[in-house]
Point group: C2
C-alpha cells in the first residue's frame, strides 16, 4: 500500500486515476489547484466526487500566478477559447507556461509534508503532441528531481503516460467511474459546450472506446 | 546579452547575483515570492534596491501554499526560529519542503511568458549540506527539466553554486553592492537579530572575506 498526493482536476483522466489508486488499496489525498482558469466547474465536481468517496481533498488557489501567465486562453480573457478539433496552433493557446511543473512541485511539497510516497500525475498519451509538459521525457526529468529534492526520495507515478484517452475511458468503465460527474470542457457553462478542443477529444475517446458517453453537451457536433 | 528572471529575495546572495548580471550587461527581471514567511522586511529592501537600479521587480504572493507547508519555522508560527550557529537539526527546521523547486518552476513560467533565456538561482556552496534543494545535483536535475518543460529550451544559471558565502561577499565588494541594504535575518525585527543561523552565517562570511560588515545587529554575538 502506497500513499499518494494525486493532482486532481475533476476531469476524466484524474478521476479514473483516483478510482484506479483506490482499487489498488492505496491511500490518496487529492490536490486541486486553481490558477486563474475561466471557471471552477470542474473543482465543484472534484469536491463532489472526493466527498462521495471519503477521500481527502485540498484546494490551493494559485491565482496569484496570473500576472506571470499571460497570452493564453485559460488565464488571459483577451484570448478566445479555440473551438473545433485541437490543432497544434489552437491547442498551444491553451498552454499555461510551465503549469504542470508548478503543479507537480506543489504536489511534491504536499507529499513531503504528509510524509507520503509520492505524487500521481494523470497526463496521458494524447497530450504529448501539444503539451510539452505531458511528454514522457518531461515526466522522466521530473522523476529525477523528485529523487533528490529532499532527503526523502519521492516517486512520481504517471499511470496513463502510455495510454490514450479512450483506453482511460475503458479503464474507467471497469472501475465504475461516474463519468457524468467529471468535467472536461474549457468553457464554464452549465453543460459541456461540445465544441472546444477538450470536448471534441472527450467525445472521440468515448466513441473510440465504444462506451456510451453520458455527457450532456450543448452542441451535438 | 542574455535575458534572465532572477529569483530575488533581497538577501545578500541574490543581490550580489543581480549586480553581477547587470555588470555583464544582461537584462534582468527580478521575481520575489512571498510564501507565508514571518516577515516581509527583505522584500521591502528588494523593492528599494530594484527601484534604485531601475530593474523590473515583480512580487508574487504564494501564501496560499501555507496549508501544505507545515512543521517548519519559516511558515509555521508554532515552531520557534532556532538561534545560534546552524546545526543540521536547527537548519532543517527552516526548510519549507520543496520550496526551491516551486520557486524555480514559477520563475521558469515567468521566463517563458517573457520569452527570456532562463532563470538565475543564487544558491551557494554553503547551503548544500543542509538544504537538499541547493545541492548541485538538484540544480542539474532542474536544468534537465528546463530543457524540455516547453518547446523553447530554458537555461537555469546558478552562478554561486560552487562559491562560499564569503566569496560572494568578495564579489559583492568588487561590484559595490550596498550590503547594508540587504537582509538575511530570519526574524523580522528593525535590525538583524545577530543570533539566528542566517545572521551568524552572514557575520562569518564578512569575517572570512576580511570585509567590514556594515550590518547593524541587535546582538553583537
Amino acid at each position: 500500500m502506497k500513499k499518494w498526493v494525486l493532482l486532481y482536476s475533476g476531469g476524466l483522466d484524474s478521476t479514473v486515476a483516483l478510482f484506479d489508486l483506490l482499487a489498488r488499496k492505496d491511500e490518496v489525498a487529492c490536490l486541486s489547484i486553481i490558477y486563474g482558469q475561466r471557471h471552477r466547474k470542474e473543482l465543484e465536481l472534484a469536491a463532489h466526487i472526493t466527498k462521495t468517496l471519503g477521500v481527502q481533498h485540498q484546494v490551493i488557489d494559485l491565482g496569484a500566478l496570473r500576472p506571470i501567465m499571460t497570452g493564453n486562453s485559460q488565464t488571459d480573457s483577451s484570448v478566445e477559447v479555440p473551438e473545433g478539433h485541437y490543432t497544434e496552433e489552437s491547442m498551444k493557446l491553451t498552454v499555461v507556461p510551465n503549469r504542470n511543473m508548478i503543479f507537480l512541485s506543489v504536489a511534491m511539497a504536499a507529499a513531503l509534508s504528509k510524509n507520503f510516497d509520492g505524487v500521481v500525475y494523470a497526463a496521458h498519451g494524447g497530450d504529448h503532441a501539444i503539451y510539452p509538459d505531458c511528454r514522457p521525457e518531461f515526466v522522466r526529468a521530473i522523476q529525477e528531481v523528485a529523487k533528490i529534492c529532499d532527503w526523502k526520495q519521492l516517486e512520481v507515478f504517471a499511470p496513463f503516460l502510455a495510454k490514450t484517452k479512450s483506453e482511460i475511458v475503458l479503464r474507467g468503465m471497469d472501475l465504475d467511474v461516474p463519468f457524468s460527474k467529471t468535467w472536461s470542457c474549457y468553457k464554464g457553462g452549465e453543460k459541456h459546450c461540445g465544441k472546444c478542443g477538450t470536448c471534441v477529444e472527450r467525445k472521440e475517446a468515448f466513441a473510440l472506446a465504444k462506451v456510451s458517453d453520458p455527457t450532456i453537451y450543448e452542441s451535438a457536433n
